[in-house]
């Protein structure tokens, strides 16, 4: 173990980055972090903005919305209203992390610890990422997507492709499988391709439409049987497979948007955990380096300044309050799990009998692998932490005149706060529950969607526009139903396809 610091001062060089990477990697091995190999890319601020605007995809297809995002990011950055994030990391194998050239050596080391070991090991270990994303193939798939869409633009015109992408993007959040078990991931690409072609052929001869031309020779005797048999939550998948008028290339583009939405879905479900895990590890790893004498005091002071900024949690009445900071909550919870393992109080023993006094490394590893934000909070948020953060829960009910404080950080309130906070991170309750209910096969081929409200929350303003997009994809009219006060399904929106 070297007792001399690797570097002093703030200038970085490629050799130093390499040296820090090795030192951090040694520390990470000690803590048994499993990671993909790292690919560290040094980029300029402008390239960072590019990466930002394309939601972190290293290779993206062209679309105006990314241009808009870029313009917005650039404006804020140029006016100095916003610093760029220090890092951006991509769930791929090797794991790609961007380092900005403007950063000091300390910041680069922080980013390496945070992204290349924190996020990286999370991507590799967490069950959602393991089940839903294929880190080995994502870059190839992005290349494929871009070339395919470029090709379509040449053959069918940029406008047609843009209209289609607009419609798909509007349904992006409804292009993911939430509860269904994932397909086998061990299938290699070749097999997947083949199945894709089979799927496509299947869709062309779908039972649904084969019955249409000859009305009297219906193979389905039970004329009332509903299609689909069960409501479908993955709208894009349903449209891709069943919309009667789409061209093959249109189906493929819908599939691309759906696949990418699915790829990002685990990230949206594990914000607190992912950031908390990465923050916990950059903190632990760099402190380890300091203990070994690999970094000096100046390094630690600069690092701690950034670290405390990252985990700052303003109180609800502070003008800077923008909701709960996932870094702060995640970091506090990860640290809390370690504390419960190492130095449990009587309260901890009562609340976490299986955790108190066990090995903290394997306890944390287990938590990282097997939870998402919602279940992680429901499982691990401790009374002590709720007291420290002084959490309280407010009910805003439009049938009541006032807000009501439902629970605070006391014995009666712990469970409710934990429940409410967990639910806040449940995407299933944050997004409206809208599913395909039926297709009018015999009549006008219209698509019937049903919205099941959660806690009476109404739908937002752009619902009509989204229905328009669905109608464009489906090719026939689209209706949306929701229950009225008496629980009877009534029409709340409908849209015709553009002629």
């Amino acid at each position: 173990m070297s007792a001399r610091p690797i570097s002093t001062g703030s200038e970085w060089t490629f050799e130093l980055i390499e040296a820090y990477h090795q030192a951090i990697s040694r520390a990470a091995r000690k803590f048994k972090l499993e990671t993909y190999p790292n690919q560290i890319e040094v980029v300029t601020a402008e390239q960072m903005m590019d990466a930002y605007a394309s939601i972190g995809m290293p290779i993206g297809y062209a679309h105006w919305s990314y241009g808009k995002e870029f313009v917005a990011v650039e404006n804020r950055y140029r006016r100095g209203q916003m610093g760029l994030a220090y890092e951006l990391v991509i769930n791929s194998n090797p794991c790609i992390a961007y380092l900005m050239e403007e950063n000091t050596m300390t910041m680069q080391a922080l980013v390496i610890a945070h992204a290349c070991f924190g996020h990286n090991s999370f991507f590799k270990g967490n069950y959602l990422f393991r089940a839903w994303t294929t880190a080995d193939a994502i870059i190839d798939y992005l290349v494929f997507a871009r070339t395919f869409i470029q090709d379509c633009e040449q053959r069918h015109g940029e406008e047609a492709v843009e209209r289609l992408l607009d419609s798909c993007h509007a349904l992006r959040n409804y292009g993911v499988d939430r509860y269904q078990r994932p397909l086998q991931l061990s299938l290699d690409r070749e097999a997947a391709k083949r199945r894709e072609r089979e799927d496509f052929r299947q869709s062309m001869v779908n039972d649904l439409w084969r019955t249409l031309p000859t009305k009297d020779s219906l193979p389905l005797a039970d004329g009332d049987s509903r299609f689909p048999l069960e409501p479908q939550e993955n709208l894009l998948y349903f449209i891709e497979k069943n919309a009667p008028l789409l061209e093959p290339w249109e189906r493929e583009i819908i599939r691309i948007v759906r696949k990418l939405a699915q790829y990002f879905y685990p990230q949206r479900q594990t914000q607190v955990m992912n950031e908390g895990w990465a923050t916990f590890w950059h903190y632990t790893l760099l402190n380890q380096l300091y203990e070994d004498g690999t970094v000096d005091d100046a390094f630690m002071l600069e690092f701690l300044t950034s670290h405390t900024n990252v985990i700052l949690q303003p109180a609800f009445d502070n003008p800077y309050y923008q909701g709960i900071n996932p870094y702060a909550l995640g970091f506090a919870m990860m640290g809390d799990i370690r504390r419960i393992c190492e130095a449990p109080s009587a309260e901890d023993r009562a609340w976490f009998p299986g955790l108190a006094g066990t090995d903290w490394l394997s306890a944390l590893d287990f938590a990282m692998r097997n939870f998402k934000d919602e279940s992680f909070i429901a499982q691990y948020l401790s009374p002590k932490l709720m007291r420290e953060l002084r959490l309280f829960s407010v009910v805003d009910d439009d049938q009541q005149k006032d807000y009501q404080i439902a629970a605070i950080h006391d014995d009666r309130g712990y469970r409710q706060i934990r429940q409410a906070l967990a639910e806040h991170y449940d995407l299933g309750s944050r997004e409206p529950d809208i599913q395909v209910y039926a297709v009018d096969r015999r009549g006008d081929r219209s698509l019937l969607l049903r919205h099941t409200p959660h806690q009476r929350k109404p739908l937002g303003q752009s619902t009509g526009t989204v229905l328009g997009h669905i109608a464009r994809l489906w090719g026939f009219s689209v209706r949306l139903e929701a229950p009225d006060e008496h629980g009877k399904w009534t029409l709340v929106g409908h849209s015709q396809p553009p002629t």
């Binding site: 605007a53 923008q322 404080i405 806040h424 739908l459």
Partner: protein, 415 residues
């Protein structure tokens, strides 16, 4: 197995294509902004970007989300005095508490961005129906120098000017502290002369309060920050003067003037490509001619008849007085609806042929808004047949302005 790659040199401007598509999508709105900007700007000031504000609902991407309403429970940190069961009045702003569906809560009403100079010019050219080659010629810049241009209040941290920022911080502190400092001096004086204990305590408290107020003024604040400002200046290559002649008699309405303005602006752009310095002289005329500034040139409107030769005579005088044709490349651009005093047209022809055309590089005449060939047109047409320096065109819409320049442009490239 681990890799460190330097990506700084490749892949700049990856988002350019996305930006171009974004601009194309809002073409109609941006076009309107550009048209308004051209109306407001000086013709010498076309070569910079323009801020565009697009309404949020136009740029928004729709998705299914919840509107405020229903029953929501949100968890917040930092509780002070609340206990379970407390009721709080609903804030009147009707702002969704905590979990709102919109992800972009930056509270701006419009989506604003700045069109680059290239994008601005490309919208300007769009109307004028320029061939692509010409667009490139005009958009291309000869050379740039970066020069200091004072300080701005916004910028990136690298450009922060520490001395300026601290100066303005010092000024702000002095200003904000001054009233309290005055009151404090006063209090301290009274405290010294005071013997009564109660009043001393009151004054002591007052002194503490004022010291607190003075301390509460922050040492530095975001409004103090000043950034070095640098701008780019084009650096082309000799000098030219451009005479803009326009008929402002009653028949020239606002629409015709707007058309004329584009004509002058386009010629100006051409000239700035070729010459280091381009001066512009504005001459307007009805029955008399006068040299005016740009604002009066485009805004004023007179009634009455038209004697075009007065303008040409004035132009000739100015050339002789100020712009010796050995030192200056002289260009003339005339816009009129073609009306002229019937005996004056032949006089114009003579003036042009004998005095002006020998001195100028090029003289362009555009008849705006009228189809009939007026007296002036016929007089010029005879001359144009023999002199390559004179170009003329009728323009009923802005798209017809460009052909006037074609001849000029090709001859420039012939040499």
């Amino acid at each position: 197995m681990n890799n460190i790659v330097d990506r700084r040199l490749n892949g700049r401007n990856k988002s350019a294509v996305n930006r171009a598509r974004f601009v194309r999508r809002y073409k109609a709105q941006i076009k309107q902004v550009v048209a308004d900007a051209i109306g407001k700007r000086s013709i010498k000031d076309l070569e910079r970007g323009e801020r565009v504000d697009l309404p949020r609902e136009d740029t928004g991407e729709p998705f299914f989300h919840h509107a405020p309403g229903g029953r929501r429970e949100a968890v917040h940190p930092g509780n002070r005095e609340y206990t379970a069961g407390d009721r709080l009045p609903r804030p009147t702003g009707a702002k969704g508490q905590g979990d709102t569906a919109s992800e972009r809560g930056d509270g701006e009403d419009d989506f604003s961005f700045v069109l680059t100079r290239e994008e601005f010019l490309s919208f300007f050219f769009d109307d004028l129906a320029l061939p692509d080659l010409v667009k490139t010629q005009l958009t291309r810049l000869p050379d740039y120098t970066r020069v200091r241009a004072g300080y701005t209040t916004s910028g990136v941290p690298t450009n922060l000017n520490v001395v300026r920022s601290l100066k303005s911080a010092a000024m702000r502190r002095r200003t904000l502290q001054a009233p309290h400092a005055r009151a404090l001096r006063d209090t301290v004086e009274r405290l010294e002369g005071e013997t009564d204990d109660d009043r001393r305590t009151a004054l002591e408290l007052e002194r503490l309060r004022l010291t607190g107020r003075i301390r509460a003024v922050p040492f530095i604040d975001t409004i103090d920050l000043r950034y070095n400002h640098r701008i780019k200046l084009p650096r082309p290559t000799s000098q030219a003067v451009m005479f803009c002649l326009m008929d402002v008699s009653g028949s020239m309405d606002q629409e015709r003037k707007e058309m004329a303005k584009r004509f002058f602006a386009l010629l100006y752009l051409f000239l700035t490509r070729v010459y280091v310095r381009t001066e512009v002289v504005f001459i307007r005329h009805h029955t008399q001619a006068a040299e005016v500034n740009e604002e009066d040139f485009f805004s004023a409107r007179d009634t009455g008849g038209t004697v075009v030769s007065t303008a040409l005579a004035l132009m000739n005088e100015i050339i002789q007085a100020r712009y010796h044709c050995g030192d200056w490349n002289i260009y003339g651009a005339q816009a009129s609806d073609g009306d002229n005093w019937h005996t004056d047209s032949s006089h114009c022809r003579e003036l042009l042929a004998q005095e002006i055309l020998p001195k100028v590089q090029y003289f362009a005449y555009v008849q705006v808004g009228a189809v009939e060939e007026q007296g002036l047109w016929q007089a010029y047409a005879e001359l144009a047949a023999t002199s390559p320096k004179l170009a003329m065109q009728k323009a009923l819409s802005v798209a017809e302005i460009y052909p006037v320049f074609r001849q000029f442009f090709t001859s420039k490239h012939g040499t």
